[in-house]
């Protein structure tokens, strides 16, 4: 170490390699012994160790290679560099990306050691040429699209039942995903051939599985462990509900007016009123039984159809200015009164 000090004192121009050499060959322990031997000068107690601190110097690594992203060829195949989805890696992406909080007057942080870039999912594996090549590769397994199924309507017509299920692909020890067992069956209610009674009953059976706005019936099954089982089950459910809705039970005859889900003019008092009014206006008053009322043909009454529609509309769609106006017009027609003058 003494040699080192001498050298140090003599010349400040020390090469990095020299320092390295001396540091490896000396120990801190033999420093005071050597000094004692040389000259008996007054030993200054160096508490702060100023000198030694000065000695410590960071060494610059000389063997750092240039970044990989800088060495990439311009015409390389990107699909080979980034074949699948993975977290962002700065050295693999030859793009001057910046991302993150922007301090005032500075540029956003660069791509190296940038957690922001690593956090967000990227689609660097799905560049258009890669997608194209993958599609090309898959083409050999595909069959041509049937020519007659050239429109949405045609597809809906020939394949009214839609089966919806999901497949999951992920990197984990198991390739199974519990969600892939769920199967949904979707069919338009109008595609099912139901009569009036059956439609009503079918809707009551399936409950909230029918969406009024779209007219779709969706049956979802997830109770069985395998997709195949659930698929069979939804098909079974549809079949069972369909045929059950055609059965007429004994107790269905006991359905009263209060149980009706819609207003049926032919079952209500208004129809009787209409018939009574008609008979009275023809001076043929007679008391009629329920059967006679039911069998009475209201089409012989002028404007009865319009009136019937207007009443049903008020009862089914709720009353509003529109429905009341149409009711007004219908009643005036029925009773032979002049229509209301257009309001000025």
């Amino acid at each position: 170490m003494s040699v080192f000090i001498k050298h140090y004192k003599a010349s400040h121009l020390l090469s990095a390699s020299n320092v390295k050499f001396f540091r490896f060959s000396s120990t801190a322990a033999d420093l005071p012994l050597k000094k004692e031997d040389d000259d008996e000068e007054f030993r200054v107690l160096d508490i702060v160790k100023k000198r030694q601190r000065q000695q410590r110097r960071l060494n610059k690594r000389t063997d750092i290679q240039p970044d990989r992203s800088d060495r990439m060829a311009i015409d390389q195949k990107w699909g080979n560099v980034w074949p699948g989805p993975k977290t962002f890696h700065p050295s693999s992406v030859p793009l001057p990306l910046r991302q993150g909080y922007v301090p005032k007057g500075q540029a956003p942080p660069g791509k190296k050691a940038n957690a922001e870039l690593m956090k967000i999912p990227n689609f660097l594996h799905l560049t258009p040429p890669v997608v194209k090549t993958q599609c090309e590769a898959l083409k050999q397994f595909c069959t041509p699209w049937p020519e007659l199924l050239n429109s949405e309507e045609a597809i809906e017509k020939h394949y009214p039942v839609e089966i919806i299920s999901s497949n999951y692909c992920h990197a984990s020890p198991s390739i199974r995903n519990p969600l892939s067992r769920v199967v949904s069956l979707r069919v338009k209610l109008s595609d099912l051939k139901l009569d009036k009674h059956a439609r009503d009953k079918f809707l009551r059976i399936i409950g909230d599985r029918y969406d009024e706005t779209t007219g779709l019936v969706t049956i979802t099954a997830d109770r069985c462990p395998a997709k195949k089982q659930n698929y069979d089950y939804v098909n079974y459910l549809l079949t069972a509900c369909y045929f059950e809705s055609f059965n007429v039970e004994d107790w269905e005859g006991e359905k009263t007016e209060d149980d009706m889900e819609y207003y049926d003019f032919d079952r209500n008092t208004s129809r009787k009123n209409l018939i009574n009014w008609y008979l009275k206006s023809k001076n043929e008053v007679k008391s009629m039984s329920e059967e006679e009322y039911r069998d009475f043909d209201i089409s012989q009454i002028d404007h009865a159809e319009v009136y019937k529609n207007a009443v049903s509309k008020i009862m089914n769609d709720g009353e509003s200015d529109d429905t009341l106006r149409s009711y007004d017009e219908a009643v005036r027609k029925l009773l032979g009164l002049p229509q209301k003058a257009a309001s000025s």
């Binding site: 009123n273 009574n276 009341l324 007004d328 009773l335 032979g336 009164l337 003058a341 309001s343």
Partner: protein, 371 residues
């Protein structure tokens, strides 16, 4: 002094808008008079409306204005046109007036009553159904009906109504043609024989209050028969008709049980009257939000107020919407109020008042009161 009276004269007679019509006969009213006020004769008001018929605020206003001026409005004209065009030999047509609060349903009815009175109809007018079923003065006279099992009578109200009926039809009831068809036995000593005038029946109900409800029932039946046999034509007007269909009344039996409207004998009679199984009649009804408690007054549309039951009872009826003032009607009303000094101040405030009242007749009248 001269200048003041000059100003007075100027204010009174230089109105740019005509708001009055001299045509005081409702049967002559037509489209040309829409929005104009006509004045009802004082004696006529006394006969027709002395026991109710005008809304309270309007009755007060007639006193303030020293005249009963009613605006000729489209709904009334509409009904009058229909009545004129309809064949009275067909079953009675029912008209239902409906509209927001304060738009003038009752006044439209008053206008129609005037029309009926003028044209010699026998008038059966119920000024306010809630008066019977919902308004409870401290001593509401109630008794169990003797003739109808399990039903309730309101004899005092019934007698008051009979009096109202008698006042309205003084002239008609004097005629000898209105005879009753069968004997009515009230008690051992009291009977009204067949062939007696209808007036006798009414008088009996007024003098023997106990039987007033049964008398009304009898009158309803008799009137229907008389109309059917073309002896007279009848005009039925019931204000607040939807009160008959609200599931509760404010009446209590002696056991503190709430009475349902169908358990009141009067309800029964007047529902019988509003059926269309008789001819030679016109039936005008109103559906009013004020007739029933506020918990069922969210909408003023007829089916909501009448419930399905009431709707089916009067179906098929002609719905007559009574709306807010139109531009023309508002202008004429403002001029009328200015004429009566009900509204003063610069002409610019009219627009503001129109906006503030949303052209609702009642609100407009209220807003003008402090001006």
């Amino acid at each position: 002094m001269l200048s003041r009276s000059w100003r007075h004269f100027y204010r009174r007679y230089s109105q740019s808008v005509t708001f009055r019509t001299t045509e005081n006969s409702p049967s002559q009213h037509n489209e040309n008079q829409t929005g104009l006020f006509y004045t009802m004769d004082k004696d006529l008001c006394k006969t027709l409306f002395s026991h109710g018929g005008f809304p309270r605020s309007f009755a007060k206003q007639t006193k303030t204005f020293t005249e009963a001026a009613v605006m000729v409005r489209r709904p009334a004209l509409d009904v009058i046109d229909c009545i004129k065009a309809s064949d009275l030999n067909k079953p009675a047509v029912r008209y239902l007036l409906y509209g927001e609060n304060g738009t003038g349903k009752s006044l439209t009815m008053a206008h129609l009553l005037h029309y009926a009175f003028e044209n010699g109809y026998l008038i059966i007018h119920v000024p306010w159904v809630s008066e019977w079923l919902r308004r409870l003065p401290r001593h509401k006279e109630m008794s169990n009906s003797a003739t109808h099992e399990g039903m309730v009578d309101v004899p005092l109200d019934a007698a008051a109504w009979l009096f109202h009926f008698k006042t309205q039809n003084q002239a008609m009831l004097k005629s000898e043609e209105l005879k009753i068809s069968k004997d009515y036995v009230w008690s051992k000593r009291e009977t009204t024989p067949a062939g007696a005038p209808l007036l006798a029946l009414v008088e009996h109900g007024i003098s023997r209050v106990k039987y007033a409800c049964d008398v009304i029932d009898a009158i309803v039946k008799e009137v229907k028969l008389l109309s059917d046999s073309k002896v007279c034509k009848t005009f039925v007007a019931i204000d607040g008709f939807n009160c008959f269909f609200y599931p509760k009344t404010r009446l209590y039996t002696s056991t503190k049980r709430t009475v349902k409207p169908e358990e009141v004998t009067l309800t029964h009679s007047f529902l019988e009257l509003t059926k269309n199984d008789w001819t030679n009649g016109v039936i005008v009804l109103t559906a009013d939000q004020l007739a029933i408690p506020e918990d069922h007054a969210e909408s003023f549309l007829p089916k909501y107020l009448l419930y399905k039951k009431g709707f089916e009872h009067i179906d098929p009826f002609v719905p007559i919407p009574v709306g807010r003032y139109t531009e023309k009607e508002f202008l004429s009303c403002a001029s009328y109020y200015r004429d009566r000094l009900w509204l003063r101040g610069p002409a610019e405030i009219d627009t503001e008042l129109k906006l503030a009242s949303a052209a609702n007749p009642y609100k407009f009248m209220e807003l003008c009161a402090p001006l």
